[in-house]
């Protein structure tokens, strides 16, 4: 069972603001789903390698080549324009340090 206190902790980690009455509902729903997925403890997974992605590919890398930049200046302006606050071509955020 997930407690309301645990719900508060998870919500903070997830950066999700939730209301007081939602806490009870989340505790209930998460407990229900976690109860179901506990089914996996029935499976013997000894010596099984975890499958960590959707392909067998490993370490696909590309050169850090700025000629491959897909954003044109116009696109960059559009991207920045979508931000709620900006200054001099940067996203602006509230102060983090006191």
């Amino acid at each position: 069972m997930i407690t309301k206190k645990e719900v508060e902790k998870i919500a903070e980690l997830a950066r999700l603001g939730i209301s007081e009455e939602e806490k009870g509902k989340f505790a209930e729903d998460l407990s229900l789903v976690l109860g179901y997925v506990d089914k996996l403890s029935e499976v013997n997974v000894e010596k099984v390698e975890p499958m960590t992605g959707g392909t067998a590919l490993e370490n696909v890398v590309r050169k850090d080549d700025d000629s491959k930049d897909i954003a044109t200046d116009e696109m960059k302006a559009e991207i920045l324009n979508a931000a709620p606050d900006k200054e001099n071509g940067y996203f602006k955020v509230p102060s983090i340090l006191k």
Partner: protein
Amino acid sequence: MNLKELTIKQAHELLEKREVSSVEMTEAFLKNIKKEDKNIHAFLSLAENEAIKIAKKVDERIAKGEPVEMLAGIPAAIKDNILIRGAKTTAASKILENYIAPYDAAVIKKLKEEEAVFVGKTNLDEFAMGSSTENSGFGPTKNPIDLKRVPGGSSGGSAAAVKAGFCVYALGSDTGGSIRQPASFCGVVGFKPTYGAVSRHGLIAMASSLDQVGPITKNVEDAAQVFEAIRGKDELDSTSIAREWKDFARPLDIEELKIGVPREYFTHGLDKDIEKNIRAVIAKLEKEGAKIEEISLPYSEWALAAYYIIMPAEVSANLARFDGIKYGFSTLQSPSSKLQKLMDVYLKSRGEGFGAEVRRRIMLGTYILSAGYYDAYYKRAQKVRRLIKDEFDNIFKSVDVVLTPTTPSTAFKFGEKTSDPLSMYLADIYTVSVNLAGVPAISLPSGEVNGLPVGLQLIGKNFDDIKLLQIAKITETVINEKQHA
């Protein structure tokens, strides 16, 4: 021109023979949308001007006698979690209500090269999380066959749009069944290609190790056409893979086919009439010369549980980007609150911007990945995922394709499963294994039960997409003969 029946091949022929122009065709679909979509709500936005502009261009080329691509001038609908530059792309979430895509998704770029016409963006469960479109931030889509019932989800808007005659074909995305399940509920074809066959660049990410883009169409041949147009390696999706693809038109002999029927897919409360329907198709295929083999995929039993760990874990990571800082809904400038701290912007923007199911999955994923639970949940689920994949790899050493029902029930009524999240999750019981294993699968309409469409699922071997489509074509023919007999 029967809009509900019009296939890509027929539309292409009409255009080439100049019996209908692309502008006329596009206008006919747009007119139908305006007339009928107020009842169905398949679309979140329309792109009339842009659509007519492209249609005109194609008409000019045809008038000059130039050959045009198969998809040129043909109206399509795009799920609203796929970016089209300059168009609103919301993922059916309030958090992206006013978001304008600054670039084209890879699949859109490819379709634009073919001069496809996009009539609009279709509804979905918010961020593709759901099986009914009831989780859309902008109201649900209704099933064109019965307006009291859901169209399935998450690509419910795309499936409904194809069924209702709002477009010739549509694109959807499939993370745990989101193309196949709505296709099944609406009586159309839905194809999820092999993981890595189609680039996801520009698809709003839900669970990156599972997501795949694919077509929703009126028949198998159309699905093959669209797949041919959108597949291929893309530098901007490092999981995409370059392949030599076989030719779909090459004939396949039904007598050489070995079809596996897994007994685990005929349990879990499978509707008796659906079972009867699917078994009748199997019998017909056998009669036509295919070899039918009863098989077992024992780890299927744990697929849904593994999925509901891996998927929310990836969701919680992927949706961290919606922070109220870069784009989307934000309380940063909200005049009513004296927000000064960054943490408050995060909490409030995300708390208010995301709907209930999305928040539920973010919470679940965050819990699963948090210190102390990672090994017990996430790592264990990844190991079970390996067992499921190995099981599919093994089965395809002895059969060409696996045949199952797509869903345990036909389209359910609105509100039937919204109060209990688990009952909604169970709607995906036959489709999630496919995403965990990465294999391709297709849902075909297989007649009706009590007036509602039944979906038949065929699952293929990794990167055997073309062979799967060829087998689907044979199966489609057999189903149609059965209905007409």
